[in-house]
């Protein structure tokens, strides 16, 4: 069970879903705070769901207020960076570049991709945390090889 958890985590890193920031978060976990990473993750997905909603609404309205969109995306990128959500972060960067270029079509396209990555990561992390909880607290604190 524990080996399975370790393998899943390793693959998340290998496939670029997570970066070293996730490991930094794990370093902050201890026996007194064994679920810290999961708590941060939950917070992240709650926050980012709200941002996605805001951006969706802004895009649906058809009015491309690039400044506002960029501002939302700045927040999104910030929290994605803090949790180590590597692929999501990359899409945020792309989106912001399109904002700055005033490229509405690029924004729309990138946003679809971003939502996909976000959703994939959410599922993978939920699965990972579930297994980790079943396997026992020690496993989550260990760095992948």
């Amino acid at each position: 069970m524990q080996r399975q958890v370790a393998l899943i985590k390793q693959s998340l890193f290998d496939q670029g879903y997570l970066d070293e920031q996730f490991m930094e978060l794990e370093e902050l976990q201890d026996d007194a705070n064994p679920n810290f990473v999961e708590e941060v993750s939950t917070l992240y997905f709650k926050d980012s769901a709200r941002l996605i909603n805001n951006i969706d609404q802004a895009l649906e309205r058809g009015s491309f207020d690039f400044n506002r969109l960029d501002s939302y995306m700045h927040q999104f990128k910030g929290s994605s960076t803090s949790i180590g959500a590597n692929k999501v972060k990359a899409e945020c960067t792309k989106f912001r570049e399109y904002c700055r270029a005033g490229n509405a079509e690029g924004c729309l396209r990138t946003f679809q991709q971003l939502k996909k990555e976000h959703s994939t990561l959410r599922k993978k992390l939920e699965h990972y945390f579930q297994l980790a909880r079943q396997a026992g607290p020690k496993e989550t604190a260990r760095r992948p090889k």
């Binding site: 930094e24 902050l28 917070l43 926050d47 927040q75 910030g78 929290s79 960076t81 803090s82």
Partner: protein, 235 residues
């Protein structure tokens, strides 16, 4: 103690700035960050030399030098980042107060009103860490307000930002920021800050015990109750 004259310091400062500018223009993130680390280390050592310290006399002087007493006020509009920085600080044995905006930070410090309200004399904040980009008042504006205040201008203020924008960094440091940290902030950053602050506190503690030996009666009344913080809403 060595006093570094402002002229000498600005030369060093500018050498390091141009170095990091050169590398950042070549998109070398590692080197840019390294230069920033150099700059911030430089400023840390300056802080040890130049930063005066207000005395905080506790009822248990032996505890004064202990890490538990460093009280950090963290300001960030991002919920995720607040949780993260709070954890970083707790793991580093700091007492933490977290607020979600610069306005709330000013309220907490009692700086939102003209006259300092009662109960704020006991408030001891050793370090303020603030995000730069926040809606409403930015971290930079908060920094300015703190440096303008008589009560808190000596408290070191660290700016955090996800964006490596050199003019921004310069502006903050020139306005008196202790340090500028690139997000995501690392545990090593926090420890480094804490350690340099503890050194300054220790030096001040030594001076204060010497001073107290000379003055048996003074403005700090030892019979007064423990410096308890007035209760404030924790955001």
């Amino acid at each position: 103690m060595v006093y570094i004259s402002p002229n000498q310091s600005s030369i060093c400062f500018h050498i390091i700035i141009s170095f990091s500018s050169h590398y950042s223009s070549k998109s070398s993130n590692f080197i840019t960050k390294h230069c920033l680390i150099l700059r911030s280390k430089y400023f840390n050592s300056m802080a040890e030399v130049l930063l005066p310290r207000k005395m905080d006399i506790t009822n248990d002087p032996s505890k004064f030098g202990s890490p538990d007493l460093l009280h950090v006020l963290a300001v960030d509009d991002s919920h995720v980042d607040r949780k993260f920085i709070e954890r970083l600080l707790r793991v580093s044995s700091c007492k933490v107060t977290v607020v979600d905006s610069a306005t709330r930070a000013l309220q907490y410090l009692g700086l939102d009103v003209e006259e300092k309200p009662l109960g704020f004399e006991d408030l001891k904040v050793n370090l303020i860490m603030t995000d730069y980009s926040m809606p409403g008042m930015t971290g930079y504006e908060l920094l300015k307000k703190i440096k303008e205040s008589s009560a808190f201008r000596e408290v070191p203020v660290v700016i955090m930002s996800s964006e490596n924008i050199l003019p921004r960094i310069d502006r903050c440091l020139e306005e008196g920021a202790e340090d500028f940290l690139l997000k995501p902030v690392k545990l090593s950053d926090v420890r480094r800050l804490r350690d340099s602050l503890m050194k300054v506190e220790d030096l001040s503690f030594t001076k204060s015990t010497q001073k107290r030996e000379l003055e048996t009666e003074n403005a700090y009344s030892f019979d007064s109750p423990v410096q308890s913080q007035p209760k404030r809403a924790k955001i």
